[in-house]
Assembly symmetry: C2
Homo-oligomer: 178 residues x 2
DNA sequence: GGTCATGATGATACACTATATCATGGTGGC
DNA sequence: GCCACCATGATATAGTGTATCATCATGACC
């Protein structure tokens, strides 16, 4: 295991939400600092959307976000939330899970070399049983993809890796319960 | 290059379609044989949809398929094409590219160990410049993903790997043209 | 101050993607 | 014949994402 895959669960996944307010606030602060350093404008709207994504603690769809956003923004419409999501993705503060048409906060912890480095390599593990998702940053996967592309002369911009299966929790539940 | 990544271009990509009729016919024959051996029913409708996907030679959306299908099936509706696509994906005869919401014929050549083995490992390289896509089957990527998942106790069912970037053709064009 | 370019947001409408549901019809087992 | 099973027809609706134009704030520049 040389790839130092550091796990990073989103989603309590197994039924309950994850309103770990402290983590959300800390993430928002880091996001603000990152944007400031970069000259990107983390406006009030974008911050609200980021907060909603982080608070959900699991993949959340654009229209679910829109519903929640309307609690604080009267006239919010689809473009309102999509534009904010586009910005947040460009900044690497959130990711989109294509298979789910849903968004999650980036689980990248500070101090792993890159702090929200623009599109950083990441992969998602999606449990088909409980719906939880985990973001992992496995260098081995990133290298293998880069190598395969390079051998074909392909210049990589962004990579989407989404693994659907059964998480450790559900797998062990299956093993005991039959 | 130990992973024996065998390229398999879909899509002439660079402007012209790829109506390589012979290839399409051969693929249809192989598909029929595979389904027969498996007890799966490659009905006329499903065969028509598979043919349309193969003939397009590039990623094609469900509604574009529907339009074309209506040339041969009067009352075709969305469920008509989606049901056929679901079947073809289950059989591994086509793949969906999530980033594009589009479908391509499986480029797996016969004689690589698995013949349309149920979900076989594959990756897509998507050129953001010309829109061409290439399907590759890189064992290194597959192993890296399997390893990362296994270390977390995650049981893999299916893996989606989609790489967005610039293909060799467009990259060299950039290099010469500035 | 005035003008202008830029970028963010508001607001409306629309396009695109996918599924739910019930009805119909064919095939083969019994 | 009857039934179970599967594929398809047909209609309606749900879910996801963009195009477009208007408005407004900010800051550069003259």
């Amino acid at each position: 295991m040389t790839e130092h895959a550091h796990d990073a669960h989103h989603g309590s996944g197994h039924g309950h939400h994850a309103h770990r307010g402290g983590d959300v606030e800390a993430s928002l602060e880091r996001a603000a600092a990152t944007c400031l350093a970069r000259g990107a404008q983390l406006t009030e709207l974008r911050r609200q959307v980021l907060r909603l994504v982080l608070e959900s603690g699991q993949p959340i769809g654009a229209y679910a976000l829109l519903d929640r956003l309307r609690g604080e923004r009267r006239g919010a419409a689809p473009p309102t939330v999509y534009r904010a999501l586009d910005f947040l993705m460009e900044q690497g503060l959130i990711h989109k899970i294509e298979r789910l048409n849903a968004f999650v906060g980036c689980a990248e912890e500070p101090g792993h070399g890159h702090t929200h480095a623009h599109p950083h390599p990441h992969q998602f593990l999606i449990c088909g049983r409980c719906g939880s998702t985990a973001e992992v940053c496995d260098e081995g996967v990133a290298h293998a993809v880069a190598g395969a592309a390079a051998r074909l002369g392909f210049v990589v911009h962004r990579t989407t890796v989404e693994v659907e299966g059964i998480c450790a929790h559900c797998a062990s539940a299956d093993a005991t319960a039959g």
